[in-house]
Symmetry: C2
Subunit: 320 residues, 2 copies
């Protein structure tokens, strides 16, 4: 009998869409699909739908491939407990997600948050293959982070380590959705840069961005305006980048990574974001660290990085 | 023939004194001695003197004990290269210290900085025996730190990780000896609290501390005055503790340690320091971290913690 190729299923659960892929040990995606998450349905019906879709695909390929495990990246996914802990934008509360999926599919399932999954993906399939220590910062609606030290994701005491978005960078600063004031995420994220722009638009309405209705304004508009020479948009990227760069100098003092990967929507702005980040980080570094840490985009294709990260989690957990 | 007991030699090199001890696997100190470092002599003559002292003691015990390795904690000691890299208050420049000592004594030698050695000591012989993740902060003339993640000291890309003293906590703040402005160490250290007190004494000279000549003032005077109810001394401890506590919230976001150990002279002030540290840290923490991290003194006897740390380094490196 021909030996079957081992595969895992990598799942990325977002508030809007769920994407999953069947992935081999080299990171080839044999199949991928996505569907609407419908976060207001019951978690049971969601998990039923997801499981049927995966089973249907693995059944079709059962003569050639063997599914050995599931990896999931999800908001507030806890690696230690396998629980998705009352994530924002979901009405599910806290659910034992890994256990629920594992019992449906009959294979082990590992869970972590999306930023940690991205870090694992970078390490197994991306630009961090040879790196011992690195960080991944995801700049979406919020700011997530995954830290790798000595080639292991840092989970800390109970799986919540690497919450850099809620480090306080401005004493008594902007109110953050977490309840604290002055969190990094309140400045450096798609929602953070929007707040910065709206703040400036109040004082200086002569901007290309004034033409966009305030509640439709998104970070892409800011990027496009900045490229067209809009001063407020450019200032917003400069400030956002500087705050992130100053903060990353502190991350470097903690564990001196070889690289810091910036991922997510905001990074489409390219050097508008990266230049001030790097400049501010270097300016705030002790001489032994200067010029030592690369700040770069992900080495994975954007569209697939989330499921590759979730797949890497499964390979890491279940490949004996 | 009776089997010999294996021992290591733990050495703590300070700018003023060198302390060394012969230490067994359980952390028993069989012998210890200290001598003046004379940091202005040549490193060769210093190493000659140190080696002779160690050899003389190991020779006396050679029928019963076998020396298997040397561990050294020293300022700017680099674990990866074994070099002591141009430390402040020494006229030695950069020297291959581990190699020089190893060739004199005929056993392997490992080197790291004093704060990393303290962390290893805490892990092997102290209060962190069962801990996976923790931090050690040493509050001496400067502020040193040793971080342990997944039971390993974090050395980073080239051995300099864990330089928390040079994280910037106040933009354009106090000038630090490293050349940057607003470093944690410029506020939170024996020299930092002295600067705080001198700053207040200029404005409010009615303090017990005004009676001490300014160039003789030391952190112990501040502690004693604070206990006697001196407002400036109390305010200085409060501010110093708050700055450290706010900063430690950021450290917790990075790797969520189980405990943060505070060591060194300033910690003799007890709750005068610990209370504001804990209060400010908790106030700045995301809810998932609140009440989760203990901030405590070292679990090792102060006088021996440095050589026990250096001994732990040797056991860690050379016990196969």
């Amino acid at each position: 009998m021909k030996k079957k190729t081992l595969i895992v299923c990598g799942i990325d659960i977002g508030g809007t869409n769920t994407v999953f892929g069947l992935i081999d040990l080299k990171g080839n995606i044999l199949y991928k699909d996505s569907f609407s998450t419908n976060a207001n349905d019951s978690p049971e019906s969601y998990i039923g739908q997801l499981s049927r879709k995966i089973l249907s695909e693995t059944q079709k390929r059962k003569d050639e491939f063997k599914l050995v495990g599931i990896g999931i990246g999800a908001p507030n996914g806890n690696y230690y407990t396998g629980e998705m802990i009352d994530p924002p934008n979901f009405s599910w509360g806290t659910i034992p997600l890994a256990e629920m999926i594992s019992s449906k599919l009959g294979v082990p399932c590992a869970l972590t948050n999306d930023a940690n999954a991205a870090a694992l993906g970078e390490m197994k399939f991306g630009a961090a293959k040879e790196m011992k220590d690195f960080a991944v910062i995801t700049l979406g609606t919020g700011l997530g982070s995954g830290l790798v030290v000595n080639q292991k994701v840092v989970y800390g005491k109970n799986g919540h380590a690497g919450e850099l978005g809620h480090c306080i960078v401005k004493k008594n600063g902007r109110k953050c959705s977490c309840g604290l004031k002055g969190c990094l995420e309140a400045y450096v994220s798609a929602s953070g840069i929007l707040r910065t722009v709206k703040h400036y638009l109040k004082r200086e309405p002569s901007s290309l961005l004034s033409e966009v209705p305030r509640d439709e304004l998104c970070s892409k508009d800011i990027y496009v305006a900045a490229l067209q020479g809009d001063k407020i948009a450019q200032k917003a990227f400069l400030e956002t980048g500087e705050i992130l760069g100053e903060f990353l100098a502190t991350t470097v003092c903690h564990f001196h990574p070889e690289a810091i990967f910036l991922l997510g929507g905001l990074t489409n702005a390219g050097e508008l974001l990266f230049d001030p980040v790097i400049e501010a980080m270097e300016r705030n570094l002790l001489s032994v660290f200067k010029g030592q840490v690369t700040v770069i985009p992900s080495g994975l294709p954007g569209a697939d990085s989330a499921i590759l990260g979730a797949g890497a989690l499964a390979w890491d957990a279940f490949k004996k």
